[in-house]
């Protein structure tokens, strides 16, 4: 059993989608618990790759390809996970605020979050306060991530937080902000729960919120 789970973890690290899907099926056929397949195979592989990333041994594309493989594998076992009541590490909603079309940073954070075991709902770019609130009501996430790359769209992060407060949803979600011009000071000023400098640390901080 352990051998098969290790194989899944290595497959994730290598981003070998075909092999991972085959090994996951083999694990299911061998009656290995789906929760174990997820945590001790799929997520473990991502965690090991994350450690390599921290040691500067791999580049982001390798992490993203692994995250893509993880997503495909989780999708394949989703019905079984749901049937057995196994939940992801957490749920997050992410988007770039209104007036801002930048999305590379947001997409990196999204993939890092997926890699950390979160289910992520991506609202895209140029997202209004109303859309964020609608997404919070519909998905009830643990974490909301707001991205902004322009000095003139940073204030929109505050507008979103204010709107969430007005909608009486503020105490139901942790809000993280990021983007090139955003600082810890600004995050404090607008009432965000966290600010991180890059995608990898955003995912790490998010994990702490749900642990």
């Amino acid at each position: 059993m352990q051998e098969l789970l290790n194989k899944i973890a290595i497959g994730i690290e290598k981003g070998n989608k075909k092999a991972v899907l085959e090994d996951v099926q083999a694990a299911l056929d061998a009656n290995i618990k789906v929760e174990s397949i997820m945590n001790d195979g799929l997520i473990k592989g991502m965690e090991e790759l994350g450690a390599k990333w921290k040691r500067n041994e791999v580049f982001v594309p390798e992490v993203l390809i692994a995250a893509r493989t993880l997503t495909a594998a989780l999708e394949a076992i989703k019905p079984i996970l749901a049937q057995q009541g196994v939940k992801p590490k957490g749920k997050a909603v992410i988007g770039t605020v209104k007036g801002d079309l930048h999305d590379i940073g947001k997409n990196l954070v999204k993939m890092m979050m997926v890699g950390a075991g979160f289910e992520v709902v991506d609202l895209g770019v140029d997202v209004s306060e109303a859309k964020f609130i609608e997404a919070l009501e519909e998905n009830q996430p643990d974490i909301l991530l707001l991205s902004a790359l322009l000095t003139t769209t940073m204030p929109q992060q505050k507008a979103v937080i204010d709107a969430i407060t007005a909608a009486q949803l503020r105490d139901k979600v942790k809000i993280m902000v990021g983007g090139a011009p955003v600082t810890q000071e600004f995050a404090d000023e607008i009432g965000a729960d966290a600010y991180t400098q890059d995608a990898a640390s955003a995912a790490e901080r998010a994990v702490k919120f749900v642990s």
Binding site: F59, P61, I65, T152, P155, Q156, P181, F186
Partner: protein, 459 residues
């Protein structure tokens, strides 16, 4: 292609800063590439909301930025400069706002020209809002119309140079960078990007001709600078970013095939290749753009520049004054030094150019591909291609070959873990089919980018 470029126009001895084969001269006598290197100042708003109610404050910000910068330029006897108004998205979605900003900034510049004989030119750069997912087509519709309206009415409001950071092909290229997918990069830059540049720059040049303004040039900022920033953070290999820079040459060159005459935009570091191939002047940014982003090319970027820029700085108060004023001062001193070398004679120019070059080129492959000698060599390789697609592939292969040789000769620092990427990238490029239509079909069928809609390009 419209105008064809088939040969490299400089030898190493004549490829220098401040001087281009085809200088651009404005009606007020300001000349770019005519012998002097001049500052190009770029600025943006501080952290503030931009909407109907704040617009008067926005206008006041722009007015005070340019007024104080011009004042400093006069104090430092700057012989001339270019200001760039790089519009924010709000001012492009509402063209009347962008046009008003242009008018206000230019009026202040005119005042200084009349009162203090400070010659200047205004570069107008709207945001390419066709990136908006609601944009129905690349070459028509509401978003295209707004951009064209800003160019036309902005020109009438006083803009001298028309530029844009266009985004054709970026819809696939963003993903290409994140995954270091060189085939996807070549599709984004060498196929979609070139297709779009042709249509876009044909139209911008028409407006420039109609309004008596200058069709200046583009930048592959959204492509190669995105790669540069990610490489600086250690997210992707620097060799990948260096190769992307060279791939971007063919795409940025299309503006000139369609009638642009320069100066090429500051953040497009591929501009050095544009100068080598077209003889038009270029703007570059280096250490003075550290206010906007990191770069490994702080000195080398100036080696053959005709305008010297700061990319963009927020209007914040520093101890020395407001940040754009401070940057005007820094640019002015850099340019004064370089122009003093020019007065001393050609050997002084070559010495300074080579010092700027050699001080950076060893430390990063992205700097190495900007070496004047490397630029001339790679440009010749690129021009061997018969069309944009073939040229883009040749650009990639030649850049990889040059980097590998430089690494083996210990002329450039490439980390051990990046070296295998050179082979991987080469193998990928060599696997691309020769026929652009076959390649296009293959890329459309295998597309994984949610942002890319072939029908927007009539594909």
């Amino acid at each position: 292609m419209g105008k064809e470029f088939n040969k490299v126009l400089y030898d190493l001895d004549s490829f220098v800063y401040g001087k281009s084969l085809y200088p651009v001269k404005l009606k007020n006598g300001l000349e770019i590439g005519g012998g002097l290197i001049l500052p190009e100042l770029n600025f943006t708003l501080p952290n503030m909301l931009f909407n109907e109610s704040t617009f008067p404050k926005v206008i006041e910000q722009y007015r005070s930025i340019i007024d104080e910068a011009c004042k400093r330029a006069v104090e430092l006897s700057v012989p001339g400069f270019v200001a760039e108004v790089e519009l924010l998205p709000d001012a492009t979605y509402r063209p009347e706002w962008g046009i008003e900003i242009t008018k206000v900034v230019r009026e202040v510049m005119y005042e200084y020209e009349q009162k203090h004989q400070l010659k200047s030119g205004l570069r107008l750069t709207p945001v390419d809002i066709r990136e908006d997912l609601n944009s129905e087509h690349m070459w028509h519709g509401e978003f295209w119309d707004k951009i064209m309206r800003i160019f036309e009415e902005g020109a009438k409001a006083g803009a001298d140079f028309l530029s844009i950071e266009s985004i054709g092909g970026k819809d696939v290229h963003d993903e290409a960078i994140m995954y270091c997918n060189i085939k996807q990069s070549i599709f984004g830059l060498g196929v979609l990007g070139c297709m779009d540049m042709k249509r876009l720059w044909g139209s911008i040049t028409e407006i420039a001709e109609k309004t008596g303004t200058v069709s200046a040039g583009d930048t592959a900022c959204g492509f190669a600078n995105t790669a540069m920033v990610l490489a600086d953070r250690g997210y992707i290999p620097k060799v990948f970013a260096a190769v992307i820079r060279v791939l971007a040459v063919v795409r940025s060159l299309v503006a000139y095939e369609e009638g642009a005459v320069g100066p090429h935009k500051d953040c497009g570091y591929e501009g050095v290749y544009i100068k080598a191939i077209t003889g038009t002047p270029i703007s570059m940014e280096g250490k003075t753009s550290a206010c906007a982003h990191l770069s490994p090319v702080g000195n080398i970027a100036a080696a053959v520049a005709d305008l010297w820029s700061n990319e963009s700085v927020q209007n914040l108060k520093l101890l020395g004054g407001m940040a754009p004023t401070v940057y005007m001062e820094q640019l002015a001193y850099d340019c004064r030094l370089m122009n003093t070398a020019t007065k001393k004679g050609h050997s002084a120019v070559l010495l300074l150019r080579d010092l700027l070059t050699d001080s950076d080129s060893y430390y990063d492959p992205q700097a190495y591909v900007l070496r004047p000698d490397v630029v001339l060599k790679l440009s010749a390789e690129i021009l061997k291609g018969k069309d944009h697609f073939e040229r883009t592939k040749l650009a990639g292969l030649a850049a990889i070959r040059v980097l590998r040789e430089a690494y083996e000769n210990k002329e450039v620092l490439i980390s051990e873990r990046e070296v295998p990427w050179l082979d991987m990238l080469q193998n990928e490029i060599e696997s691309i089919p020769a026929d652009v239509n076959v390649f296009t079909q293959e890329m459309i069928e295998g597309n994984t980018s949610a942002k890319f809609e072939p029908k927007k390009y009539d594909l």
